[in-house]
C-alpha cells in the first residue's frame, strides 16, 4: 500500500468514525423496538412486543418540559375516549432522577402506560430532536405521524390522525 492509498484509507476511516450518528425516526419508518420498566415500581415492564397489533401513541416527556405537562392531561382524556377501539398511549418519561417525574404524577394521575427511560435509551433509538416529541404508530409498526412540540390546537390534529388510524371510528 503506497502513501496515497494509506492517506485515502485514513480519511475514509475518520469519516466513518465521525459520521456514526443515526437518523431521526420519520413518518413511514418502522418504529424502533424498546423494552422499558414502568415508572411505577409495582407495574410490569412495557415493551413493543406487548403492544403489537395496536395503534400506539408514543410520547416523550419530562417534568422540566412545560408543553409536555400541558399535553399529558389531554392525552389522558383521549386515551379514555379511544381505548376501547384499541388505542394505547405510552408516555415515556426521560426524567433523571425518575422521582421528578413521579412528583408530577402525584398531582396529575394518568391512566395510560408510563415507562421510565432515565438514561434515554428509547429516546436515543427514536433520535428525539426536541421535547415533547410524539409518534403515532400503526398496528403494523409503521410510524404514521411524528409531532414535535405542543401548542394549543395540536390535540385536534393528533386526535384526527388517531381516529384515522383506528379506522375512522367515532
Amino acid at each position: 500500500m503506497n502513501i496515497k492509498q494509506k492517506s485515502q484509507m485514513l480519511a475514509l476511516l475518520t469519516l466513518t468514525a465521525v459520521s456514526t450518528s443515526a437518523w431521526a425516526v420519520e413518518e413511514g419508518d418502522q418504529a424502533p423496538i424498546f423494552d422499558l420498566p414502568s415508572i411505577y415500581a409495582d407495574h410490569p415492564a412495557i415493551s413493543t412486543a406487548s403492544l403489537a397489533g395496536k395503534t400506539v401513541y408514543v410520547d416523550f416527556w419530562a417534568s422540566w418540559c412545560a408543553p409536555c405537562l400541558s399535553s399529558l392531561p389531554l392525552y389522558n382524556d383521549m386515551y379514555h375516549k379511544y381505548k376501547d377501539q384499541g388505542l394505547e398511549i405510552v408516555a415515556i418519561n426521560v426524567d433523571n432522577p425518575i422521582e421528578d417525574g413521579l412528583d408530577f404524577l402525584l398531582d396529575t394521575p394518568l391512566d395510560f402506560l408510563i415507562p421510565a427511560d432515565p438514561d434515554g435509551e428509547a429516546a436515543e433509538l427514536f433520535e428525539v430532536i426536541g421535547m415533547p416529541t410524539s409518534y403515532l404508530i400503526e398496528p403494523d409498526g409503521t410510524v404514521k405521524l411524528v409531532h414535535m412540540g405542543f401548542r394549543s390546537g395540536d390535540i385536534e390534529m393528533i386526535e384526527e390522525a388517531i381516529r384515522d388510524s383506528l379506522g375512522g371510528g367515532n
Binding site: 502513501i3 496515497k4 494509506k6 492517506s7 485514513l10 480519511a11 476511516l13 475518520t14 469519516l15 468514525a17 465521525v18 416523550f60 419530562a62 417534568s63 422540566w64 418540559c65 412545560a66 408543553p67 409536555c68 426521560v94 426524567d95 433523571n96 421528578d100 427511560d117 434515554g120 429516546a123 436515543e124 428525539v128 430532536i129 426536541g130 421535547m131 415533547p132 416529541t133 412540540g149 405542543f150
Partner: protein, 72 residues
C-alpha cells in the same frame, strides 16, 4: 509522505471533535437545574441587569428566558 502527514493531522483533529459532546433533547433537564444558572442569585442578577439598562440605555443580550429545553 507530506500528504499522509496532512491527512493524519486532519484525522486527529476530526477525532478530537468527539470531545465536543452535544446535549441531547432528553438531557436538557440538566440545563434547567438551579446549579446550572450563570448567576447564583436571580434577584441580584435582575437588579444588576436593571441598573446596567438604566446606565447604558440598553437591555438584553446577557441571558435568555426559559429552561433550555428547546420546547418553546
Amino acid at each position: 509522505m507530506r500528504a499522509f502527514r496532512t491527512t493524519l493531522l486532519l484525522a486527529i483533529c476530526s477525532l478530537m471533535l468527539f470531545s465536543c459532546a452535544d446535549v441531547r433533547a432528553w438531557e436538557r433537564g440538566y440545563l434547567a437545574r438551579e446549579e446550572m444558572a450563570w448567576a447564583p442569585d436571580a434577584l441580584e442578577s435582575s437588579l444588576n441587569d436593571h441598573i446596567f439598562f438604566s446606565k447604558e440605555a440598553s437591555s438584553g443580550g446577557n441571558s435568555a428566558a426559559g429552561g433550555g429545553c428547546g420546547c418553546n
